[in-house]
């Protein structure tokens, strides 16, 4: 009988790794705390750079999971390192043993209410990137219904590149997500004026810069270089946003019907807690520390423990999938070598 390969997390990293492990003849077991697979991608509507439906990506991954043992709505109560592998006690009381363990624990979205000056949770006109995707998916959000949306703003770097918020790193997907969402809102509200408040635009990937050019040329989206400093409600039910227009060197204000905060990626605290139980190295930024940041991203400081996706830092979807495949192969080789 094949030994278990235990995968912590059933987002796209865990799903893709499990799929590949099955193809390699291994026996993956996914432990997922939510009642469904898909992680953050399951909350999303469309993905950059092609605006393809997030559901299509998950739809492509699901069939390959036939034969995998999946524990939904389950957390890990305790994790022990043994001589010949790892022992887990799950929240339902059951126990699992495996020689290989894959952290596919992902990230946590920054809680936007922590940046109180932006007014999330205080003003109905302020929502997050995730709220907007959910609204695209469900059409339901009491904050958005019944109001005309003629002026819309996006705030980049909410909880990212913010030492004071304890999160110095760039979340890297938000620039592109903001532009994607800005265009999606223009598609729905062609006459709306859309403003993106940025510090600098980090559009590093394939097709990203084309998206930016398209946002300017085809959609007339305004880009204002300056970090929003404060948001306040107006008498007529809008919010007034203040920033420095750093290109003009002057303060700037504009009133908006909707403000979307681009909440960034934080380390997943439950992953950190589990990592501590088996003395895995945690990096200065709070993410799990890879054995090597060039050639060993998916390797940990312990034999048999592997990483895939945003547990080691901010990642895009294709990066996450590539790491999941890479980790699956590394786990397969690890189990073969040990025989």
């Amino acid at each position: 009988m094949k030994e278990n390969v235990i995968i912590l997390g059933g987002g796209i990293a865990g799903m893709e790794a499990a799929r590949q492990l099955l193809l390699l003849g291994e026996r993956p077991v996914i432990v997922e705390r939510a009642d469904h697979l898909g992680g953050h991608v399951a909350d999303w509507h469309r993905l950059f750079p092609d605006k393809s439906p997030a559901e299509d990506l998950l739809e492509g991954l699901r069939p390959g999971l036939e034969g995998a043992e999946i524990h939904l709505g389950t957390t890990v109560s305790s994790l022990n390192a043994l001589k010949d592998g790892y022992n887990l006690t799950l929240s339902d009381g059951s126990k699992l043993h495996g020689r290989a363990l894959l952290f596919a624990t992902g990230f946590e979205l920054f809680a936007a209410e922590r940046k109180e000056e932006y007014g999330y949770g205080i003003y109905n006109q302020v929502i997050t990137n995730r709220d907007l995707e959910r609204w695209f998916n469900t059409g339901k959000d009491s904050r958005l219904s019944g109001r005309p949306l003629s002026k819309i703003g996006f705030v980049h770097c909410v909880g990212s590149r913010d030492l004071k918020a304890g999160n110095p790193q760039c979340s890297k997907v938000c620039c592109m997500t903001a532009i994607k969402q800005a265009i999606e809102l223009k598609e729905r509200f062609p006459f709306a004026e859309v403003y993106c408040f940025y510090m600098d635009l980090r559009l590093f990937g394939k097709k990203y810069e084309d998206f930016y050019i398209g946002a300017q040329r085809d959609w007339g989206i305004h880009f204002i270089r300056g970090r929003v400093s404060e948001v306040a409600e107006t008498l007529d039910g809008r919010v007034v946003v203040k920033a420095e227009d750093t290109l003009s060197g002057r303060p700037l204000k504009v009133s908006l019907d909707l403000l979307v905060l681009m909440a960034g990626m934080l380390p997943n605290p439950s992953a950190t807690a589990l990592a501590r139980q088996i003395r895995l190295d945690v990096d200065d930024d709070g993410f799990l520390r890879s054995r090597d940041n060039l050639a060993g991203i998916i390797a940990s400081n312990r034999p048999g423990v592997f990483y895939a996706g945003a547990c080691t830092g901010t990642k895009t979807v294709p990066e996450t999938l590539a790491e999941a495949r890479s980790a699956a192969l590394a786990i397969h080789n690890y189990l073969q070598d040990a025989k």
Partner: protein
């Protein structure tokens, strides 16, 4: 009015709710590439009229976008066209300035 012996300075805040962008909109019809500017400053850095005349196409475009009249800056341009060679977004900057000058003539 009572003279209090001092005056109030006008606010320097850019208020986008009240900004008059009609000049931008007129120029945009003639020069749709105007939208492509990403404020990199290559044009201003290569400008022969920048040092003595204070010309900066980047500032001209920014002023138009924020609803301020850039006429005093534009007047320094000698239409040498060097900026056209360096724009990374391929905007025909010389033609853009020419179109703006034509709008001013019609005013």
């Amino acid at each position: 009015m009572t003279d209090f012996g001092y005056t109030l300075s006008r606010s320097s805040t850019v208020n986008l709710d009240e900004a008059d962008r009609s000049l931008w909109l007129r120029l945009e019809k003639l020069e749709p590439d105007l939208r492509l500017c990403m404020a990199c400053g290559s044009c201003s850095a290569s400008c022969t009229a920048a040092e003595l005349g204070g010309m900066s196409l980047r500032k001209v475009i920014l002023d138009l976008d924020r609803g301020r009249d850039p006429a005093p800056i534009v007047s320094a341009c000698m239409l040498c066209g060097k900026c056209s060679m360096v724009c990374p977004r391929g905007i025909n900057t010389r033609h853009l300035i020419l179109s703006l000058c034509r709008i001013y003539e019609k005013k």
